[in-house]
Amino acid sequence: MFFLDHIWLIPLFPAFGAAMMFFFGRRLQKATVSAVCVGVVVVAFLFACFTVVEYTHFAHGTGQPFEKIVYTWLGSGDGHLNFVRRDGTLASFNADAGFLLDPLSSIWLLFVTGVGMLIHIYSTGYMAHEGGYYRFFGYMNLFMFSMLTLILANNYMLLFVGWEGVGLCSYLLIGFYFHRKSASDAANKAFIVNRIGDAGFILGALTLAWFFGSFRFTDINSLARNGTFASADIHILTIAALLLFVGACGKSAQIPLYIWLPDAMEGPTPVSALIHAATMVTAGVYMVARSNAVFVLAPTAMKTVAIIGALTAVFAASIGLVQNDIKRVLAYSTVSQLGYMFLALGVGAFAAGVFHVFTHAFFKALLFLGSGSVIHAMSGEQDMRNMGNLRGRIPTTFKTMFIATLAIAGIPPLAGFFSKDEILWQAYRSAYGGFPYLWLIGFGTALMTAFYMARLIFLTFYGQPRMSHEVEHHIHESPKSMTGPLVVLAVCSVCAGWLGVPASLGGTNPFGKFLEPVFAHEASVAEVEPQEPAGEEHRGLEWTLMLLSVGAAVVGGGWAHHYYAKAGKDYKEPIAVDAPPLYTLLYNKYFVDEGYDYVFTGRRKVGDIRLGAMGAGEASSWFDAKVIDGAVNDVGWVTRAVATLSTWWDKWIIDGVCVNGPAILARMISYPARLFEWGLVQWYALVMVAGLLGFGVYYVWK
């Protein structure tokens, strides 16, 4: 039990690396930085492996969650900090620094640390000549810490800490080349769009706490599974589930909040692989899967998730058909695959969704790392129009990327085939709300996926070289530190799917079985028995659908081969040739960014009116300047007028009449008296003498 009891150490390893980089990174050699930062992730990975092995012994296949509470983080736990629940009873506000390990978090734990480790190793090669080496690895370690906190948290509050942490690291790493305006704008965009989702998430989590009286997953799940709910309760749970899904839309780039992910490709390529393809963007899927007990109580929310997922899948895939930037194609592919995952969650096939997250992590990370290797070889060129015929020049990159492309396109027996077909099959027939037209959307997406991935491969590795001579001269295979992870990921992309071979193909689906305890109740609610031996017509239908989707993959690849395999300098986009307006629409991403600029950000005006945030800003500014300041100025004017009047009154009436008036009167009265006092002393004396003489004369003559 050593590893399980010390599960809290797993996030702390990368946190230690991040802290080292934060305090001492500037002074360390690149080799030291690599050793520390890659080392802590390797340690975390090994620790995670041992922990999961111990967990399987602990749970004995029952899927019983292991919970380790280190200390009470928020609240008091002794009932001093209470809040009123919906039913009027008091509940203690309490969130622990607690760690939860169950099959769901085990899977995330393994592939996050595993893929994270490979990408860290790759980064030592990719970033070798970049400035800010320690900064990059510090952020990457911080990201690993946040992501591990997110997936190991045992309550919504701690999950939110990880949730915000990965958002912050995403921001920091997208803006890694912060001297480039586009990168800094993209970072801001990602952060702000995510903030909308985060607001939804925290509101949803608080609604759940208000309803159930706890933030803890185990409490909420058992209450949700064992309770009976009136329809008013179901409405509240629907709102809570939809709010959580808003958070998932932000983090996992679903309509309408997907717009940040393609722009996030401004970050270094390993970041795109780790954060914006393999791990962070699946946090939304994780959170919805984690809240499955709540979601299944709210059919409306489930339907919303399924429909949004399906729409996002086809929408993003169609944009990906015509993009020229190699990383942008992959970005739209990621959005599209995330749509698949939400489609699976929405139709109640949680295990299938998680399985796709798992396989997708390998082949999408591989595709991004491969594209990084291509960009590395092309001296920074990302535009596929300027590539071509690279397969002989960078053979390892080519082979591994080719495998990943087969995997994502759904060619058996590679990983993507099993996970994607499981989703399509469940979308077709899940009693939860499977609709044939959701399958149809998924099928169309599969066709497009095969096309745009094959297009990427053909434009990059086949055809005629279209780059400048100088660039061509510098093409070289990447160092071992980069190709090594590619090979490992390629092996995983081939084999990962074998963990989930469905019963219809003679497999036992150990992956699904492992997850079963987490979702078992949901499956029984949905009356879908995953292990139920399907009837012959079901099995026949399943095989038909499988054949159809494999056929779609082959056809999509074949079309791409037809149009791009021999692409020269003047190759034409088939869509641009056949339907120019459609091409313009797709090439400009359905003008969604522009639309958002009109409606939400207000960067563009509708006629003379500005809407959205800037519109609100302008309106507030106008209101402030005209109404608030106007009122202030009017009050000021009145005060001044009163003051003027008051001054006049004081000056002329108070001072003039009342104070100076008596004084003037006194002066006027005293004037005659003053005349006697003219100030010449000798004259006074003369008068006195004259008076004396006068008296003398008077008495003498009398």
Binding site: R674, E677, W678, G679, L680, V681, Q682, A685, L686, V689
Partner: protein, 102 residues
């Protein structure tokens, strides 16, 4: 040779008094005015001494000595004021000493 009578003294004293009054009234220099006041006081002294002689007792003489002391005190105070004043106005002209007039 006729005897010097009280009347003679009184005439001299009256002449002295008139001289003093004329000095006080006509001179513009404060020092001269003070000296003239001394003349007036001495005229009074002469009268007192003359009447003392006439009556054959010392009452008048006693008054005269008081007046001499008084005159000395008055001269000291007057000259002191005058010096203080001169420091401020740099003049001893009576016509210009009119600060108390408003």
């Amino acid at each position: 040779m006729a005897e010097i009578t009280t009347l003679h003294y009184l005439v001299v004293a009256a002449a002295l008094f008139v001289l003093g009054v004329i000095g006080v009234l006509t001179r513009r220099n404060v020092v001269i005015v003070l000296m003239s006041i001394e003349l007036i006081l001495n005229a009074v002294n002469l009268n007192l001494v003359a009447f003392s002689r006439m009556w054959g007792n010392l009452h008048g003489q006693l008054f005269a000595i008081f007046i001499v002391v008084d005159a000395a005190a008055e001269a000291a105070a007057g000259l002191g004021i005058l010096i203080a004043f001169f420091r401020n106005k740099e003049t001893v002209n009576v016509d210009e000493i009119d600060l108390l007039k408003w």
